[in-house]
Structures are given as structure tokens and as C-alpha cells.
């Protein structure tokens, strides 16, 4: 494969961003929308070609002896810090990046299409498409990064596109503050990532230039991943708080991923990010950007494996987050928030799967890279059904003009397409056979049970919670009790126009069949194919739990009944805490606003104005004071002048004389 397609894949969305961003003001909506959709369609086609070529062409550069290879299609120097630390911009093709290309362009295309209907009447339509193009560009750049620094560059860019899109409705203060929050929290996480990169690249670049690590730039993924033991060796001898430096570096880099992927405790931005337009939430905050953290871990997997402590850290963070988000999701009333917490929980699921994927053989288990494959598989299926759910939620909001499920209820009669597709999405996420979520979740749970029974059990419980809250939402929206306003209002809720329905249908179809993709043949940690087989005990357990949870939800929510309220009143504190997301936002607000802003910043500003500035003004004041104090010398009488004169002369002599004695 030449380099034309890879370059076009990056250049096309960026060009679109420039065209729509600069010329958009002068364009009609129709033109801008058409341009955006066409460009994205072309992009999707190109990405499919690339991915298809990679997976199925059988070219020797892509698959050698049955092992899938990593290929840098191009890699040009962008900036050279030192001879060993060179930042390249390139295009890395390997199983996960090819998979991500497909995911990103597909979802992006769906969202472009969908937005044409959804955003039709919003001002700034052209700007919206420009931002979408920018995001697509950044995300593609991120996944095809050949080195950690390129990834960091695009990592920041997706952050900015996310900021711009969350704050798209810039006249709403809530949207503005949500976008700000999203950017700053992720930026805070990126700080750690940057430090991690600094540490890693420092040690790698300080190995001998002709040594094993000397071949390429110290940032290069292929070089680093190919020889994790040498990387570890380069950092040996330096430890920090009894952990090896590599462990720390990898954990720091992972913290960046925690920020983007909204892991506890850096998750607070994601629910607020729902202030953005719903299609944006589907694209960025469900399917693509938020899984960047997972992708990062997968990208650096060999290095994480060489320092297992970091994988344990990932597992623990993921497990806690998954449970936390699932619990919170049970107590939300805003459907987008529910979906947001569901996203957090599902991403945490993937994290745990990756964390559980040791690649050294553990007793009784032949293949331990399972978690890696499963995590990626889930990333893929989750992207599809979560985008579906978000777009469905968008259709609901479009119809009802509210995010709140209390304003909904009984919508199944009014919006049949939305209803069916939404149901498919719910079934998929709950892990019901034969929907895609079942397969990926099964593999993940199997990997967790392999690692330790505790993780398996814990995550099975989370899966149950997932099924419960999803169906709680489903019932509350589509069943429960019909909102009486529908009957009276002029505009009865109805299904969305075709631009919006079509993506729903496509994604629903994908969610139905994606589980049967032989994913293990395509994406594995070492490129060797792996044949997926259902682990019967695990599958049975998780399926049972899911069905039970759905049953519980059905019992509670299918028709209007007082039980949910009673339950809520039974544990008011628990409900309140879960509803308020266990007060994380309040804690952050206290720290940032009261401590950092009010005490530190104001303190420093005060110090600057009064002490530092005061010192400068003080010097002037002292000079002036001296000037006033000595003015008596110039008293106006000659005799006094002469007195000074004489005293001066005598003193001059006397002091010199004394000094010389």
C-alpha cells in the first residue's frame, strides 16, 4: 500500500476543517452539510480500504507467517528535540489502529449524517461541521500515531475539539462551564502523561546510541514495544518510592488515559460534557475519544506487561470506577447522564480486561492475552451500541425537548423505530445473546476470571447492574406511564427524519451482528490469531445475572407503580448520594474554588500587589522620605550654609585622617 491513502485520511478531515472553519461563514447550511457528509463518507471508504487491505490482503508487510505486523506507512520528522528525541508524524498500521480507523470513521459518518437532521435549526451549523471535521482529524491522528509524542499531540487536539464541541451552545453558561471543566480536567491528567513521557524518553534516549534502543527516536512505539526488557533495563538503577522508574512512568502515562477515559477520580467532566449536542456525545463521549485511554494502554501493552504493578493499578482503578459509575447510573434522571455513567462504567470494564491480561502464562491457562483481545473487542462493540444509544437518546430529546425521563414515558407508540433500535442497544449493552455486547463481555469476564476469581465476580456484578440501569431507563422512557402532555400538545412526539433514523438502523444492525465477527482472528496483542470460543460457565453466569437484572427492572418499571419511590424513601441517604454522584463534584469544587482559587491565587495576587509591588513603591517612598527629611539642610540662611560647609570640610579631613591612622 502506498502512502497516498494514509496521507489523505489525515489530510481530508483537516482540509475540511479549514474550508468549513474559514469559509463556513459564507456558505449555506446545505453546502456545508453536504460537503461535510461527503468528505466523511469518502473518509470512511478510504479507512475501510486501508483496514480491509491490512486485514485481508495477505500482503507480506501486513501479515508474515500468520502473524500480523506493525507497519509504519510513513513517518516524517516534525521536530527534533535532540538527536535521540525526534518527534515524527506518521501513520502506524497494526490491528488496533486499523480497527480504530473503522470505528472512528463509521461512527463519525453516522454522526455527520444524523446531525444534518438533529442540528438543522441550530445557528452555527457550519461551525459545527468544521469542529466535527477537526475532531475526526485529531482522533485519526491519535490512533495512527507512530510515537508517543505524536499521540500526545493529537491527544491534546482531541481535547480541544471536545472542548469546542461541548461548548457548542456557547450562549448557555452551563455549556461553557462544562466545556471548560472537560478541558481542564483532561489537561490536568495530561500533565501527568507529559511527565510520564518525559521520564520514559529521558531514560530511553540516554542509552547508548548504538545499543538496542538506539535505532529510532526514543518516542517510537514500535521500537519501544519491540523490546520492553531493554526499556526496563534502561531505567534500572533509578527507583522512586520503591517502585521502578518504568512503573512510575507507565502509571503516569496511564493517568493521562484516566483523564480522557474518565476514570475515577478524574471522571467528573464526562457527565457534564453531556451539555454538548447529543450527536457529539455519541461520537466523542461514547465511542471514540473516551476510549483513548484504553487505546493508550493497548498501544503500550508490552511495556505495561513488563511492569505488572502498573497493570494491577489499572485493574484496581477500572474495577472501582466500573462499580461506582454503575451505581450512580441507577440514580440519575437525565437520560444522557445515565448513558454517560454507563459509558464510564463500560470503559472501566475494558480497562479491567486489559489490566487482567498478563501475557506471561499463568497456571492452567494457555492464553493470557485474552483480556487484551476482549478489551479491544468490547471497545469495538461498545462503540457501536453506545453510539446507537446516544443517537437514540438524541432522537428522544429531539422529540420531547427534554433530557429528563420524567418528561417521557410511553414513547414506544409514538416512536417505533427509535424504540426498537434503542431496545437493541440496551440488550447489547446488557450482554444478551446474540447481541454483540454478549460476546465481548463474555470474553472479558473470562479473562478476569482467569486472572482471579474476585475480579470476575466483581465485574459480573457490575454487568448485572448495567443490565438493571439500562432497562430501568428503557422502561421509564418507553413504558411506565405516558406523559399526558403528548395527547394535548400540537406536536406529538414522532420518529426522527430519515437522516436521523438511518444511522440508528445501521448501528442497530451492526450491534446485532458484530458479535459474530471473528475478532480474535484480527486483533490480538501479538498479532497471532486467536480463536474465540464461548466460555460456557462464564457465559451462563453472566447471562443469568443479566436476565435477572432485566427481570428486576421489568418488575419495577414496566408500569407506573409506587415501588421505586418507596425504595428511594427507604434509603434516602444512599439515593441522595448516588444521585449527587457521591459528591465528587462538590469535593472538586471545594478544592479548586475555595482552596486553589480563593486562597492560593488570591493570596499570590495579593502578595504581588502589596508585598512585591509595595516593595517597589516602598523604595520610591523611602527615597521621597529621605528627600523630605534632608530638606532642612537647605534652610535659606547663609550662616547655616557655611556651618555645613565648614563642618563638611573638617569632617572630610577628620574622617580621612582617622581612616589613615
Amino acid at each position: 500500500m502506498g502512502i497516498t491513502l494514509p496521507i489523505l485520511i489525515l489530510a481530508l478531515p483537516f482540509t475540511m476543517f479549514l474550508i468549513l472553519g474559514i469559509g463556513g461563514v459564507k456558505m449555506s447550511r446545505k453546502l456545508a452539510g453536504t460537503l461535510g457528509i461527503l468528505a466523511n463518507g469518502a473518509l470512511a471508504v478510504m479507512a475501510y480500504i486501508v483496514a480491509f487491505t491490512y486485514f485481508f490482503s495477505g500482503e507480506a508487510q501486513f501479515i508474515l507467517d500468520g502473524v500480523r505486523q506493525q507497519v509504519q506507512l510513513f513517518d516524517v520528522t516534525w521536530l527534533a528535540f535532540t538527536e535521540r528525541m525526534v518527534v515524527n508524524i506518521g501513520f502506524l498500521l497494526d490491528p488496533i489502529s486499523a480497527m480504530m480507523l473503522v470505528v472512528i470513521t463509521t461512527i463519525s459518518f453516522m454522526v455527520h449524517l444524523y446531525s444534518w437532521g438533529y442540528m438543522e435549526h441550530e445557528p452555527g451549523f457550519q461551525r459545527y461541521y468544521a469542529f466535527l471535521a477537526l475532531f475526526t482529524f485529531s482522533m485519526l491522528g491519535l490512533v495512527v500515531a507512530t510515537n508517543i509524542f505524536q499521540m500526545y499531540i493529537f491527544w491534546e487536539l482531541v481535547g480541544v475539539s471536545s472542548y469546542l464541541l461541548i461548548g457548542f451552545f456557547y450562549k448557555l453558561p452551563s455549556a461553557v462551564s462544562a466545556s471548560k471543566k472537560a478541558f481542564i480536567v483532561t489537561r490536568f491528567a495530561d500533565l501527568f502523561m507529559l511527565i510520564g513521557i518525559l521520564v520514559l524518553s529521558y531514560y530511553v534516549s540516554h542509552t547508548p546510541a548504538d545499543g538496542p534502543l538506539g535505532g529510532a527516536s526514543a518516542f517510537n512505539f514500535m521500537m519501544l514495544n519491540a523490546q520492553p526488557t531493554n526499556v526496563l533495563a534502561s531505567t534500572l538503577g533509578a527507583t522512586f518510592l520503591s517502585g521502578s522508574v518504568l512503573t512510575w512512568a507507565m502509571i503516569l502515562i496511564f493517568v493521562g488515559g484516566m483523564g480522557k477515559s474518565a476514570m475515577l477520580p478524574l471522571h467528573i467532566w464526562l457527565p457534564d460534557a453531556m451539555e454538548g449536542p447529543t450527536p457529539v456525545s455519541a461520537l466523542i463521549h461514547a465511542a471514540t475519544m473516551v476510549v483513548a485511554g484504553v487505546y493508550l494502554v493497548a498501544r503500550f501493552f508490552p511495556l505495561y506487561c513488563i511492569v505488572p504493578d502498573s497493570l494491577t493499578f489499572i485493574t484496581v482503578v477500572g474495577a472501582i470506577t466500573a462499580f461506582y459509575a454503575a451505581v450512580v447510573a441507577c440514580a440519575q434522571i437525565d437520560i444522557k447522564r445515565i448513558l454517560a455513567f454507563s459509558t464510564i462504567s463500560q470503559i472501566a470494564f475494558m480497562m479491567v480486561a486489559l489490566g487482567c491480561a498478563y501475557n506471561e502464562p499463568i497456571e492452567g491457562v494457555h492464553y493470557s492475552g485474552l483480556g487484551y483481545m476482549a478489551g479491544m473487542f468490547h471497545l469495538f462493540t461498545h462503540a457501536m451500541f453506545k453510539a446507537l444509544l446516544f443517537l437514540g437518546a438524541g432522537a428522544l430529546i429531539h422529540a420531547v425537548h427534554s433530557n429528563d425521563y420524567t418528561k417521557m414515558g410511553g414513547l414506544r407508540k409514538y416512536m417505533p423505530i427509535t424504540h426498537i433500535t434503542f431496545l437493541i442497544g440496551c440488550l447489547a449493552i446488557a450482554g444478551i445473546w446474540p447481541f454483540s455486547g454478549f460476546f465481548s463481555k463474555d470474553e472479558m469476564l473470562a479473562a478476569m476470571f482467569n486472572r482471579h476469581w474476585f475480579w470476575g465476580a466483581w465485574m459480573t456484578m457490575v454487568a448485572g447492574l448495567t443490565a438493571f440501569y439500562m432497562f430501568r431507563m428503557y422502561y421509564l422512557v418507553f413504558w411506565w406511564e405516558e406523559n399526558p402532555e403528548y395527547k394535548t400538545s400540537h406536536h406529538k412526539p414522532h420518529d426522527a427524519p430519515w437522516q436521523m433514523s438511518l444511522p440508528l438502523i445501521i448501528l442497530a444492525a451492526v450491534s446485532c451482528v458484530a458479535g459474530f465477527i471473528p475478532f480474535g482472528e484480527l486483533v490480538t496483542y501479538n498479532g497471532e490469531p486467536y480463536h474465540i470460543h464461548i466460555e460456557a460457565p462464564v457465559a451462563a453466569t453472566s447471562l443469568t445475572v443479566a436476565v435477572l437484572a432485566i427481570g428486576l427492572a421489568t418488575a419495577m418499571y414496566v408500569k407506573k407503580n409506587p415501588w421505586p419511590t418507596r425504595l428511594k424513601n427507604m434509603f434516602p441517604a444512599l439515593w441522595q448520594a448516588a444521585h449527587r454522584r457521591f459528591y465528587w463534584d462538590e469535593i472538586y469544587m471545594f478544592i479548586t474554588h475555595n482552596i486553589i482559587f480563593n486562597i492560593i491565587c488570591r493570596g499570590i495576587a495579593w502578595f504581588d500587589r502589596h508585598i512585591i509591588d509595595g516593595a517597589m513603591d516602598g523604595m520610591a517612598a523611602v527615597t521621597n522620605w529621605c528627600s523630605v527629611r534632608i530638606k532642612g539642610m537647605q534652610s535659606g540662611t547663609v550662616t547655616a550654609y557655611v556651618r555645613w560647609y565648614f563642618i563638611g570640610a573638617v569632617l572630610l579631613a577628620a574622617i580621612t585622617w582617622i581612616c589613615l591612622l
Binding site: V628, I630, M633, V642, Y645, G648, A649, A653, L660
Partner: protein, 485 residues
Amino acid sequence: MDYSQFGAMLPELIILGIFLIVFCTDTFGGEGARKILTPFTTVLFGLATVAIWIIPSNAEPIFGGMYVDTTACKAMKAMLNVGVFIVLLQSAKWTDSDEVAIRKGEFYELMLVTLFGMYLMISARHFLLFVIGLESASLPLAAMVAFNKKHYESHEAAIKYILTAVFSSAILLMGLSLVYAFSGNGSLYFDDIRVALTGEAPSGLLIAALAFVIAGIGFKLSLVPFHLWTADVYQGAPTAITAYLSVISKGSAAFAFFVIFVQAFGSMYSVVWEWMMYAVIIATITIGNLFAMRQKNMKRFMAFSSISQAGYIMLGVMTESALGLGSMMFYIFVYIVSNLAVFSVISAIERKTGLVGMEDYDGLHKTNPWLSFAMTLAMFSLAGIPPFAGFFSKILIFTSVTASDSMALYMLVLVALINTIISLYYYLLVVKAIWINPGEAKVEGFRSSGAERLALWICVAGIIFFGLVPYIYQYCVDMALPMFN
């Protein structure tokens, strides 16, 4: 006695000649002559200035070494002449005013006599000649200070001046008498004294002698603490006289100071008077600045400014080298044009409106843009801002001071440099008044007389080009070199 020796005193003779011509014209010329006296004197003096620039110097000492017109002396005299010429130009209109017109001959005569005295000071290599020069430079000045007969301030200034002047000459004579005691062979030639003092241990009496001499000449230079008369005299005297006092009198005294302390007391440098001057310079710069900060009257303000400038000039003395002398002469020359530019503006405005307060300059740029422009440049030059000449003179003198590798001198320069901040502050106050202060202009727009404008143009040209064109400095150093060979 060989009377042809007088031929070597060409500069003095020229001044004397002009004095006689002016005196005769004034005395015997009657009403008509008095009318043309101003242009006549000015032109005559201008010619003399040119003449003094071009006549060759005579390095041969005459009268047994009492008098010598070295290249440096001649250059200094020429520079002073330029200053005097500018003063004459800027005072031309003033001398035509009703109050002064009838006495303007006296004004010129007195001025020429003082100039003659200064020439003697510069060229003197014997203390007797020096004292004569000093006194003839300072006594007529008292009369000039008192020139505004109808203004009380003028008299007050004059009495303060004369009393302090006499006191200082008493101190100086006392000091010289002690020096005389040390002279070894009873000779008051500078060279003999240097020879006599070489190897002399600094006794209390000698230290007192040097302190008294410093005090005596310090009076002319208004070094702190011998400066207290300055402000009052500058404020009270007619502006033309103030201008004359502040640059010409100070410049000649500085040169004489250098000659005396290097030629006569050079061997006492590092033992005694280096430290005396160290203290005096720091005090001069600092106290001058501290007082100048608060002044509201422009003339008084310029008095303190000139005190602090005197401190900078004295830095040249600390070098004891040709480079130092050259830098000092250059400083004096630049100081002459900068300061006279300020006084030209002050006198033009005072003559037109009678206003000399700093607050009267508020908004001047609206009515008199050219005067404002000249004043601004002059202030920048005095403050030492490039690309104006004042910057170069300051930096070059600092450079020559630090030539010797002495930490003490570095610290002295540091103090001087820090003081430039204070001086910048008050110079900027004037700039601020002119350009920034709000409110209506208090001075009406007016057109200065031709002579005033010529004076200003010369000054502004000097301010702009003296620094950028290196020849003046080169000339000063070249002229200074022979003195040290």
C-alpha cells in the same frame, strides 16, 4: 622679562581684546552704540570662538611655568566659548528689555571678565595665578547675580553668593597656606608641589590642607556639602546668569580641579584624596538628586540637577588618566549644550510670560511644540538616554572610571548608575508636565526670537550629534593625551 611671552596667551588676549572693544563701545559709543551692542558683542564673540578653535595651542610654559596653554586647556577654553556664545544668544532678547537695556554693557563686560578669569584658572600651573583666576571668575559673578536690581530674589541670591564665595576663598587660602608649608622649597608651582609631596606620609595637616582645597574649589563646582548656595543663587539670579553659572563656571572649575589634583597632588591620590572624593562624589550625586526630586521652580530644579551632574563630572577626576580627562571634557561639553538647551527654553518662556514653575509647563506641547521638543531632548540628554549625547558622555565617563581594576571604583559607578534612576525620575517629571499632564496650557503659543532659536538649534544639534558622531570625544581624548606624556 620677555614680553613676547604674552603672545602665547592668545585666548586670553582675544577675550581681553573683546572686553576692551565692548567696554569702549559701551562707554564712549553713546545711545546708538548701545542699540547695536548686543549683536555686535555676539558676533564678535562668535568670531572669537571660531578663532580660539582654530588657533594652535602652545605647549611651551611661559612665565616660568605659571601659565601653559596645552592642547587640553585650549580645547576646554574653546568649548567654554561655545557655551558662552549660546548664553549670549539666548540672553540677547533679555538684554534688550527695558530694565536691562541701559546696563547691558556691564553685563557683557562682567561676563567677559569672568571668562577671562576662568581661562586663567584653566591654564594656571601656579597657585597664585590660579587664585587670581578663581577670584576674578567669581567676584564679578556676584555683581551679575545681583543684576536684576528690581527683584529682591536677585539681591538675596547675590548676598548668599558673595558671602559663601568669600568664605570659600578664605578656606581655600587657608588650605593653600598649609600646602605652601609642605612645598619643600617654597614654590607654589604645581610641579614643584608634586615633587615635594612624593613620598610624603600623609600627616594630619596635609590631609586638612587637601580637604580645604577640595572645599574651596568644591564651592565653585557646588559639590556637597559645599553646594548649599547653589540652589538659592540659581533661583534668584537672572536666567542668563544662572545658565552661565551652571555650565561655564562649573566646567572651568572642574577642569582646574582635575589639573590641580592630578598635577599638584597626584602623588597623594590613592592615599588621601581618592577617598575624600569618593565620599564627596557619592554625597554630591545623591543629595543633589534627592533635592531635585521635590523642586517645583525650574531654575531651582536645574540647580540641583547641576549639582548632581557635577558629581558625575567629578568621576573623571577619579581616573587620573588621559582617558578620564578626555571623558570629563566630553562630559562637560555635552553638559554645556544639554543644560543650555534647557535654559534657553526656560529663559524664552520666562521672558515671554514670567513663568518658571514646573506646573506652568503643563500641556506646553499644545502651544509650543518646538520648545517642548527641545526641552524633551534636553531632559533625555541630561538623564543619559540614548541616542542623545548625554548617554554617551555618562557611559564613556563610567567606562574610563572602571578602567582601573578597583572594586571600589566599580561600586562608585554602581552608586552613580543607581542615582541615574532618581535623576531620570525628576527629568521625566518635566517631560511629564509638558506632554502628559492634563489641562490647558498656561503658556500661550509664541514665536521665540531668532537668536533664541539659533541658540536652541545649536544645542539640539549638539544633543543629537555629539554622541553619534565620535569625533568630539576623539578630539577630547586626543587633546587630553599630551598632558600625561
